[in-house]
């Protein structure tokens, strides 16, 4: 329903997380989220999942 656009401020952990991709798989996904260059997921509606077929 919402496009979240108000990230929290940069913290020591967020800097560390952005600097390199962690080994821990969940943190690696968080790193990808923080450093991604493509547009955000089209929806944040959490009562469904959708497959996004962006190339």
């Amino acid at each position: 329903m919402t496009e979240r656009h108000e990230p929290v401020g940069e913290t020591q952990d967020s800097v560390l997380l952005q600097r390199r991709r962690p080994i821990h798989p969940a943190l690696a996904r968080a790193h990808d989220q923080l450093t991604r260059t493509e547009p955000a997921e089209i929806t944040s509606y959490d009562r469904m999942h959708h497959r996004h077929n962006r190339s």
């Binding site: 919402t2 656009h5 108000e6 952990d13 999942h49």
Partner: protein, 725 residues
Amino acid sequence: MSTDVPDTIAGAATFTTFLVKVAARCNLSCDYCYMYKHADQTWREQPHVISPEVAEQVAGRIGEYAREAALPELLVVFHGGEPLLAGAARLTWFRKLIADALPDTTTAHFSLQTNGVLLDDERLTTLADGGIGVSISLDGPATVNDRHRSLAGGGSSHSAVMDAIRRLRTRPETFAGVIAVIDPDADPRELLEFFAELDPPSLDLLLPDANHCTPPPGRDRDPQRYERWLVEAFDIWFDDYPTLPIRTFDAILAATAGAPSPTDAFGFGDVSLLCIETDGGYHDLDVLKITKPGQTNLEQSVFTSTVAEVARSPKIQEHRRLLSPAGVATECRSCPVVDVCGGGAVPHRYSAEGFANPTVYCAEMLTLISHVRTRLHETLQAEAAQFDRRGGSGRYNLAAFDKAATAVTITDSLVDTWQSETVPQLARIAEQLAADDRQPSSVRAAARSLTEVASTELGRLSRQPSVSLWVRAHEAARRGQPLLGVDGEALRFDPTYVANVARLFSEPARETRIHRPDPWLRSPFSAPIRFLTDDEATTGPSRVNAAMEWIRRYDAVLAAEILNLSPEVQFVTDESAHPDKVVSFSDDVVPGCLFIGLGAHPGAVDVYDLADSIIHEHRHQKLYLLEREVDLIIPGQPFVPSPWREELRPPSGLLHAAWVFVELLGYWRFVETSSDVAATVRSRAANQVAVSTERLSRAWKTLDNVQTTPAGDELILALRERSAT
């Protein structure tokens, strides 16, 4: 968070998700359903399914809006009730109607959220062929799911849903994920084990919808039950199932670290979803039906208004304000986690006085976010410490390590470190076997002889490739995790091999062992790799010795290094390879063993090529030795092109190749300039030099874009400088 925030939201919302209710009834009767079991009962007045007339009008309105708002992308979600009650064929017809109404500049995605009970093969095929993704609702194993998700007429829905998921797993392009509602009476470990086994492409764990008028089930008798459950489930996931993509937990981790929240459940944001009921009426977020009758109704429909007009409606504007920092409750503004929580899901903030409250799950959000912050911080710090320890620069002089002439003290140090692990392991195995009455006397005697060996000698022994593998197989079995060979087969520890180990001890040190029929050198490999028969390998030892003599001429210290670090040679052939291609390889599963191809006939691999193969495979072994102690490449990066391979390689594989070919470049330069070799060989050497130089230059460019540790940077710099000289 700043309290200096505007009271109103400028402009209109931009809708990019259209939640189209194609059916207003359901074939399940879930006790927590936000559509049917909460405050708003207006579903009773809605048409059971969407009519063709309404569908056509909806498609036209979405197309019209996509054009006006110049939407590059939008999502249509077919929702209910149970949307499959409208019929799969009608949904694909509706999808086409909407797609045809859109401008060419808009890309549309279509999804369906279903309980899965009606998702048989035929319907799934229709949806998949129609380009509609499918997301399933399922709360967990039958014992958990059936507490809340019973069929409308009573009875379990679980087996039908599991059948649907099994079908969906055969359609990965269509299967979008699973939504589960949390029951804090469910064992979180059992739940995560179940979903890990199910392996959905995405999973969400949603809190039961509640607000201050209708509090979370059971919390009155146990106020911390949701907090405890969330923290326990998060820890189990984070520690044991972190590859399972759980949107809620992934989102909270990312948001805690500073990324925008990608979910409705928490975080600031803006309205981007418009709901359209089966009668064509425009509605706000459907979950707001848990607040009061009519809360979602925007009092306009596809027959009266455009989507753009609805985007400016007062209710949508108020909803936008609630999602902004201005919309959170006064007490939230000074909360330490409000930047992550954003006041919580709007429907969960509701009380009889309105929405100016913290979410009814405030305590749960505060506890979970604080816990996630701690876990994030601790894990990042631990990884950083490991990174600094294993990947930091300056621990070893890697330029010195590269060249045999200057590497001895470093390789000795690395070997010492390696042995500090393996020697106690070998000693323990010997002690255990010596004292094990179940073993034959020959095994106990051999083991006993090893218990009397000095630890320095055990060190030499434990480094023998076959012994090293044998010891690791024992350690793996002790941990209950069998060691796997390159072919994926488990390598079973064999106590009787201790006699071979004792025999190896009595043999002279520092002598290359050639083509010993030792199972612990050969067992990790199977077809198409074949070990040469003794007859086929007859010429091998003399040829290896000749090649080693030639390597000594190139670099006597390198030859000594090979004898020290790579003391075993096995002759192999790859029966899947082209007959003209001679395959050699090494693998860290057997540290220090070189697997060398001799070619179909002696002329196929001459002494210069054989020396090349030995140096090549030894260089891999030398780098494996370093990599046991030092991280060079940041893991998890995509594969990259390698000038030496047709297929993409992991970045570590490319670094290995560059590491090998820098040495071989020096070797072939030596051959090229050796006056006593035939002109044809010098010409071949010149070609090798030219090809390797060109490929290395491409490798450096690729490695420039690979994330390396400081140690990796240092090594690559040393290799580049050496290759340029």
